[in-house]
């Protein structure tokens, strides 16, 4: 079907195309595939704002008056999906990489925890936006709370600047469990 339409488009454009330089000729069929323009894409991206983001979009960037914080938290908690194998994963090495790859100076594209937190003392390029996570595993925190914090930080602190990485699908449940394992492991550089 699409081929048919395309072929038709080609014939229709034939006259125009004939007078155009080669580079543009190649472009013509592409345009017929109804690819979204960059403008349309950006519009959709903004329209994807969810109702909780909308609530936080005020000059304080915090939960506004009139919205019940406890209800907000409950709704956020309800979005948290837990992995089948439990909240503490097995692949600590992968957890470390997602947290911030020491081989790349602590960078990681998706987790990127060092943008805001310090942790492994070897990683010097760390932000001071969130609290230091140095010694985190020795604080007696329930790993389930750590998991929820990473999956959807707004279940604990609505409108927090810490991104809801699990909620948005940037990190999968199993990946978050591996980060939790890395953070709670007594041998982790965070805890030594």
């Amino acid at each position: 079907m699409r081929k048919f339409v395309l072929a038709g488009a080609f014939v229709g454009l034939g006259l125009l195309v004939a007078c155009q330089p080669a580079a543009q000729k190649a472009e013509a069929p592409k345009a017929e595939k109804k690819k979204l323009s960059s403008k349309e894409k950006f519009k959709i991206a903004l329209a994807n704002q969810d109702k909780w983001q909308k609530a936080c979009s005020n000059p304080t960037q915090l939960v506004p008056e009139g919205i019940d914080v406890e209800t907000f938290k409950k709704e956020m908690l309800a979005t948290v999906k837990f992995p089948e194998g439990g909240v503490v994963g097995k692949n600590i090495a992968r957890g470390e990489k997602l947290f911030g790859d020491p081989k790349k100076g602590g960078k990681s594209r998706r987790g990127n925890c060092y943008a805001c937190h310090c942790g492994d003392p070897k990683i010097l390029a760390c932000g001071n936006i969130g609290p230091s996570l140095r010694g985190y595993g020795k604080r007696g925190i329930d790993p389930k709370d750590t998991y929820i914090r990473i999956y959807n930080s707004w279940a604990q602190n609505p409108c927090s600047v810490m991104p809801r990485l699990g909620y948005h699908g940037v990190l999968k449940p199993e990946e978050i469990a591996d980060i939790v394992a890395y953070m709670h492991d007594p041998n982790s550089p965070l805890n030594k």
């Binding site: 323009s37 991206a45 994807n48 983001q53 960037q61 001071n128 600047v161 940037v170």
Partner: protein, 273 residues
């Protein structure tokens, strides 16, 4: 053009110093030396822009044909931009205004993909050099963005809304990084407050970290990359990195920030790390 490349290589020669200095938020020594010699790397762009300003386009007209030798009639114009223009029926920032003049009045073709690519390009001959030059014609003058026209008012409101809009897979907004977290460090980068500190006064700016001149369009669009905006779900395929150039989203944010900078003195090109 050649001048620019030369300077750039002089700067890259000090690359090692540069990397160290970036972390310490100070100018690398070789750059200080260039400055002492009166050689701000951004000035090469201004010079190139001046040359282009006096170069005729396809229909024989140059910018100077309408705006005067040495841009006489554009002195102070940048201090009042973005603003509404009757001839194009919309609010334009410097990038958009230059594009409009070139395509409307000089014979350049908006539908010519090759031209558009060259225009948008960071290191192209048109947009960034011309914007730097025209902006420099307002040096020493106070920023004075008025919101007289209804379209300006509307766009300003849109800019303010966008500034605080939490969106994307990281739940960011401009305000998160630049209002709430201003003064903090994201990794090693200090977060400025472009609104309170009236930073617009030093844009366009030469950023030696990336070794090139940026217009405010470039700055605003690049900051959107951190959001992880998406159409369907966050993954490479559906990732929306930046708003399109010359779009109202970008101009709205520029208008918001420039209005906040009212009263500050234009001093361009700026110099940032």
């Amino acid at each position: 053009m050649r001048k620019r490349t030369l300077l750039a290589s002089a700067i890259m020669a000090g690359g090692a110093v540069l990397t160290a200095a970036v972390a310490q938020e100070q100018l690398p020594t070789h750059l200080k030396e260039l400055l002492e010699l009166g050689m701000h790397p951004g000035h090469a762009y201004v010079d190139e822009g001046r040359e282009m300003f006096h170069t005729p386009g396809p229909n024989g007209k140059s910018c100077a044909t309408c705006h005067g030798q040495d841009g006489k009639k554009l002195e102070g114009a940048y201090a009042k931009m973005p603003r509404y223009y009757k001839d194009i029926g919309k609010v334009a920032d410097i990038d958009t205004r230059i594009l409009a003049c070139m395509t409307k009045y000089m014979g350049y073709d908006k539908n010519d993909k090759k031209f558009m690519k060259k225009f948008k390009k960071w290191n192209g001959p048109y947009r960034v050099p011309l914007a730097s030059y025209v902006a420099s014609l307002s040096n020493g003058m106070r920023i004075d963005v008025k919101l007289d026209d209804p379209q300006e008012k509307e766009l300003y409101k849109m800019g303010e809304k966008l500034w605080y809009m939490r969106v994307g897979a990281r739940d960011f907004s401009c305000g998160i990084c630049h209002t709430v977290l201003a003064g903090k460090r994201i990794r090693l980068q200090g977060l400025p407050d472009p609104v309170k500190n009236k930073v617009y006064a030093h844009w366009p700016a030469y950023r030696f970290g990336s070794d090139r001149m940026w217009t405010m369009e470039d700055r605003v669009r690049s900051c959107f990359k951190a959001y992880l905006l998406y159409t369907k779900q966050w993954s490479k395929k559906d990732w929306v990195k930046k708003p399109p150039p010359f779009s109202d989203w970008v101009i709205a944010l520029e208008l918001y920030m420039k209005h906040a900078a009212n009263g500050a003195t234009v001093e361009v090109p700026g110099l940032l790390r």
